[in-house]
Symmetry: C2
Subunit: 163 residues, 2 copies
């Protein structure tokens, strides 16, 4: 019922990721009294099509491909905004792209490993890391409202594949 983040870059039963994410999304929206409309669900599904962050315009094209009607930017941006508010997806600032959240119900810090090879974004959280972050902020008398940690590089799977 949870999505293990570390498998994102490996071969795995991704349909399981999708269905789990879908369940969680419905639960979160129900709990928040938010409406996961057909359009929003469609965008969410498209974002979850893979573990690779997707740009808004790529999503727009996929939306347009699925339906016959033409799709304009606000359509997809509004859906993305909703999903961001609900904590169901994250924005990767380094890529101007969006990716599904693997644990939307619990508290989550926006931390990602992003592989430059396969494009997969692995969400992670680590207590010692968060402690260091909080300590540093405290040291500066700084109060954190939002945090973005993005590490670009090469994932284990891709490095092993290269040998």
């Amino acid at each position: 019922m949870t999505i293990p983040t570390s498998i994102a870059s490996q071969q795995h039963d991704h349909s399981h990721c999708i269905s789990t994410a879908m369940e969680q999304a419905k639960a979160v929206c129900a709990q928040n009294g938010a409406r996961l409309t057909p359009l929003r669900e469609q965008v969410f599904r498209l974002v979850w099509n893979s573990h690779q962050p997707l740009g808004a315009y790529a999503l727009m094209d996929m939306l347009a491909a699925e339906s016959t009607r033409r799709v304009a930017p606000p359509t997809v941006y509004r859906a993305l905004e909703f999903l961001l508010e609900q904590g169901l997806i994250h924005r990767i600032n380094m890529l101007n792209a969006f990716v599904g959240c693997t644990h939307p119900s619990s508290e989550h810090a926006n931390n990602f490993l992003i592989c430059e090879h396969c494009g997969v974004a692995i969400e992670f959280s680590a207590d010692p890391l968060q402690t260091s972050i909080n300590d540093t902020a405290a040291e500066f008398g700084f109060s954190i409202n939002a945090q973005s940690i993005e590490l670009m590089g090469c994932c284990q799977h891709c490095r092993e594949a290269e040998l």
Copy 2:
């Protein structure tokens, strides 16, 4: 001869920041055999006009205001690219903006506290934080090429001013 990061959001002798940054920039370029041309120096100076990250188009307007000739995007983007390569400025991904680096000569991890009130970006580094980052990456078998840590919130100075 160094720029203390913690004073960025306070009243301080900013002309000292600028002159120090300028010295360091010249030293870095000399060491790397890179040419700090008048245009690049002008852009660098404009970026260092404050501790608040500046967008490329704001810079462009400032450039245009200073000289009579008209300035097109590639002009400023090429200068910014050069300064980024030399490690003299950083890009704040959450803001699509650029800010001067306070310690360009040494190794530096791209870590920032960004105040939503005054807009100041405070560059910081913390050994335990970096250790946690490296540990986490190692745990996932991930090799880091670039890292971006951006903490948005409210700086001490602004919080005290609000009371």
